[in-house]
């Protein structure tokens, strides 16, 4: 297929994905809005007022970038994992496998669908946060780069999860037992610098720490113990590696072709 046909195929997959999560917005966009509002009220307003300052910021201001990234991670991941697995489950993935759409287009279409949902929830959470805090973006380029790389990385992760999944349970195991603990321990609610030195070291192997702090730098100008160059390098390398793995699995027909 030429460029134009590939573009049409990509748009078809992408638009289908976006329409899917917009159609079921009470399951996709509303829950993060409600959950994050509760976080703002409870952690930021009720408890945060007693905590005082964190890394020189009001606790509420400090926690907003972390909560935005938490939404991006979970929504990018779950959009692709649930959508792609549903396609497998219903066998409608066969429509794509029979067609001449190149595998990299299939991958790109699903991943961009997940990225769009991640960014849309990020936008919703930021809008909601404006009811509680007043801040300006410190570095727009770093902010956009961090949120984009994070969304792409976790959308790819969701895609790989869906390829391996054999039941709907299999697509909830990673978010529940891996992503949620890593997110909570990735500096969403606290600055890693308040931890003892040993736990600071342990935290450095958590990839979400780099994403949260890179994004926090973009919004507030504070990155804590994280080196920004290292953070963006890790995110870029992870995206490249996960894209390569996903494409290889797709080319082999892993979980799709017998």
């Amino acid at each position: 297929m030429g460029f134009q046909q590939n573009w049409i195929a990509f748009c078809t997959i992408y638009i289908k994905e976006v329409r899917r999560f917009l159609r079921i917005w009470p399951q996709t966009l509303l829950p993060p809005a409600i959950t994050m509002t509760l976080y703002f009220v409870i952690f930021g307003h009720v408890i945060g007022s007693r905590i005082g300052q964190m890394a020189g910021f009001d606790y509420m201001t400090f926690v907003v970038p972390g909560l935005v990234m938490m939404s991006v991670v979970t929504n990018s991941y779950s959009n692709v994992s649930s959508s792609f697995y549903s396609n497998k489950f219903q066998k409608s993935i066969e429509e794509l496998l029979v067609s001449p759409v190149p595998n990299w287009i299939i991958l790109l279409g699903f991943v961009m669908g997940g990225v769009t949902r991640g960014l849309m929830t990020a936008f919703i959470v930021i809008l909601l946060s404006l009811f509680f805090v007043d801040f300006q973006v410190f570095d727009i380029v770093a902010t956009i780069a961090a949120v984009l790389l994070t969304a792409v990385m976790f959308a790819l992760g969701g895609f790989i999860n869906a390829l391996f999944a054999k039941s709907f349970d299999d697509i909830s195991i990673i978010p529940t037992f891996v992503l949620t603990p890593l997110t909570y321990l990735g500096g969403v609610f606290y600055s890693v610098s308040v931890l003892p030195e040993f736990w600071q070291g342990v935290s450095q192997i958590n990839p979400i720490l780099y994403q949260v702090n890179a994004f926090r730098y973009g919004m507030l100008g504070y990155s804590g113990v994280v080196d920004l160059t290292l953070a963006f390098s890790i995110m870029t390398a992870a995206v490249v590696a996960l894209f390569g793995i996903s494409l290889r699995l797709l080319n082999k027909g892993w979980g799709l072709r017998s």
Binding site: C11, E94, P100, R257
Partner: protein, 311 residues
């Protein structure tokens, strides 16, 4: 390159061994001519679905060669896939999508967008009697309508080769006939059709050529006429007007024919191919038996099929 004389489908030494060690295909060679209406028959587990799965890229082959209209599936997969439309046995579209969206989305996968996709969608949905249902969620369709929707979807990119896997299974007689009529028209317009079906009577009526697959091997690959010629005997039921005497329940009374009295109005007669029926009717006349109708006991192809797959 491909031209009008290039075979629609060529399989050479196609093998498939599944991870559990089951050898589903043991080196299949098959050629389907362009414009043909071809039947691929075989009992359950014979390898039909695996063969179709490999041709339609849903199953990875172990070894062998697949070519669609001159395009090698390994070297020129995109062009090969563009020639092919597949109607699977089981429903495999997103049942939460609207009928028209199912077809238009598939068009998009083939690089057909916008106005052209809508024009084609309208054409095929109208031809298959689904246009009035275009805005209905596809899960609301009846079983027969879902099958027609899959045919419309398979035709949206105007493939030169259409594979139908048990397209009329579970479909009522009226709808089955209208589907066959439609598929026959598609074939007459130049599309090569390959079908699997367990309605052997349909295969006999519709298809010009046939391959029978059994235990992963092609056991017969010939024209339908040639295959039926191999049948050496046929069994008929004769319905008679007057009650038959009990004494007629003796085959020996009919020289050369195996005749059995089933009830007082029905006889079963086995006729050798070279015999003809005149001799039988002469003898029935002698008994003053008035035959009012006659029908085949079983579909002829079915008799052959059972014989071949039991070898």
């Amino acid at each position: 390159m491909t031209d009008a004389l290039t075979d629609a489908l060529t399989l050479r030494q196609l093998t498939k061994t599944y991870d559990n060690g089951h050898q589903a295909l043991k080196g299949i060679d098959l050629t389907v001519a362009p414009g043909d209406f071809f039947a691929l028959l075989g009992p359950n587990g014979a390898g039909k679905s695996t063969t179709i799965g490999i041709v339609s890229s849903l199953v990875n082959k172990t070894s062998g060669y697949v070519d669609i209209f001159g395009y090698d599936m390994d070297k020129d997969m995109v062009r090969a896939k563009c020639q092919l439309g597949v109607v699977p046995q089981e429903v495999n579209f997103n049942q939460f999508e609207k009928v028209e969206d199912v077809v238009i989305t598939q068009a998009g996968y083939y690089g057909i967008a916008g106005r052209e996709a809508r024009i084609r969608s309208e054409k095929f949905l109208k031809q298959l009697g689904l246009w009035d249902k275009r805005d209905v969620q596809s899960r609301m369709l009846s079983g027969g309508m879902k099958r027609r929707l899959m045919i419309a979807r398979a035709l949206i990119h105007q493939p030169r080769l259409l594979i139908l896997d048990e397209p009329t299974a579970g479909v009522d007689i009226e709808l089955r006939r209208s589907l066959w009529e439609f598929i026959r028209e598609i074939n007459e317009q130049g599309t090569t059709v390959i079908l699997t079906t367990h309605y052997l009577e349909e295969a006999e009526q519709m298809c010009r050529n046939i391959a029978i697959i059994n235990e992963g091997e092609i056991v017969e690959n010939t024209s339908m006429k040639e295959l039926l010629r191999k049948l050496d005997r046929e069994t008929f039921y004769l319905d008679v007007r007057q009650p038959l005497p009990l004494a007629m329940n003796e085959s020996a009374r009919f020289a050369g024919y195996q005749v059995t009295r089933l009830d007082e109005h029905t006889l079963e007669v086995e006729v050798q191919k070279q015999q003809g029926l005149n001799g039988l009717f002469r003898q029935l006349n002698d008994y003053q038996v008035d035959v009012v109708s006659m029908r085949n006991k079983a579909n002829r192809l079915e008799e052959l099929f059972v014989g071949m797959t039991r070898r």
